[in-house]
Amino acid sequence: MMENLVIWPLAVHFFFSLILMFGWKNIKLQKNVTIIGNSVSLAVAIYLFINIYQNGTQTLAAGGWEAPFGIVFVSDLFAATLVLLTAISGFAVSIFTVVSVMNARLRFGFFSVYHFLLLGLNGAFLTGDIFNLYVWFEIIIISSFVLISIGGEKNQLEGAVKYFALNFMASMIFLTGLGLLYGLTGTLNMADLSVKIANLESRSLVDICAVLFFVGFGIKSAVFPLYFWLPASYHTPPSAVSAIFGGLLTKVGVYALIRVFTLIFIEDPFLQTFILAIAFFTIISGAFGALINNNLRKIFSYLIICHIGFIIGGLGVYTELALAGALFYLVHDIMVKTNIYLISGLIYRLKGNNNIKQLGNI
């Protein structure tokens, strides 16, 4: 029981999303079940965090297959922190959804897909196998496609087309890098990869893989030249959905970047300069984008991009202090971004509008 603790945050969400499918038509029941589910997952995440904080890193080999051969789930303090933050934001957003989103939108299995999204996020944070990371990413994006297009309004579908095209492309580029990396090393376990990559002769191929990974995760986390899908789509769904997207979806890309570039592709001066330059332009362009827009939620979308730049910058500097700062900032950023989108939802409720020119006297 206890040795399987790492898998619990996944199991809880999976269980509840299956339960929710049985109450497909009954929205009132679904609302109650989703709140119970998120409370349970919050409790599990707190328990996991305390356990990891006291006892150190835990691993779980799926099916009892030993590390380089089977799929492992690893929970260190970083992963446990993000699982805890996912649970907190998931809980908050589920309550907000229950009271704010119209029932017409909640009909087509909204909460079931929502739990699948959280399942994918937890899986991406906890996995120790790079192909398994790809699978969790796919679960995240498929769920997010459904959540972004559910309701079927005009600008929602437009945003969904743009969001779909670029995120699909990102996944495929990530998968290309992954295939090349497997061809080079013959392993998929992240810890094993870091050992084998260090012993490889052909650094140029490793660099190509690194750049493919950077582009793939970069599109998902919205860094400078690759962010255009984000302001085009994040303001279209209901603000509860935007909140979970803005708080967690881009951050899972950043998490993957930090994992991959501190564990697998390390100590490369070219890549570090490259990442620093990207971070610089991300901060600048995000800030300018926020300045010239009038739609409140679009401003927040650009702020997400801007603040991703700060975290990537910490990765680019690549000292212990810089990475600690980046992680510290990441923790705050998840909370703050979820909150400001929820607040924009409240403002929309009060004023029926998100244009800051008409939002006086709140």
């Binding site: 005009k154 090349l180 061809g183």
Partner: protein
């Protein structure tokens, strides 16, 4: 054989990206299909091709004594095919819905999300 497959992979990538960059959203979904097939072939090639060499250790020995076909890329492709099939199905439904609601399949017309409102 590997050279032929490598060239086919290149063609599928190029065709997929080209189709994704066309203005019609129907072609976008065709690009999605071609691109994901290209990636699947690439993973298949990354395990190196060998004919008639099953990954079985003979009973008299504890380790592989000759070259064998790596089974992992095939398992990876199987997963990737299922996932990309789901994505393609979603893409086709999304394109159909978008055409119904927006009455256009031209990506250049899809600019209401960029307007300031």
């Amino acid at each position: 054989m590997e050279v032929v497959l490598a060239i086919i992979t290149g063609i599928l990538y190029a065709a997929g990206i080209y189709m994704m960059m066309r203005r019609s959203i129907v072609k976008l979904s065709i690009g999605v299909i071609l691109f994901s097939n290209g990636v699947n072939l690439l993973i298949f090639l990354s395990g190196r091709l060998k004919k008639g060499k099953p990954p079985l250790i003979p009973g008299s020995s504890d380790v592989f004594i000759e070259a064998y076909t790596d089974p992992i890329p095939q398992a990876l492709i199987l997963t990737a095919i299922v996932i990309s099939f789901g994505l393609q199905a979603f893409a086709i439904v999304l394109v159909k819905r978008a055409y119904k609601v927006l009455h256009t399949d031209d990506l250049d017309q899809l600019n209401t999300t960029d307007e300031d409102s």
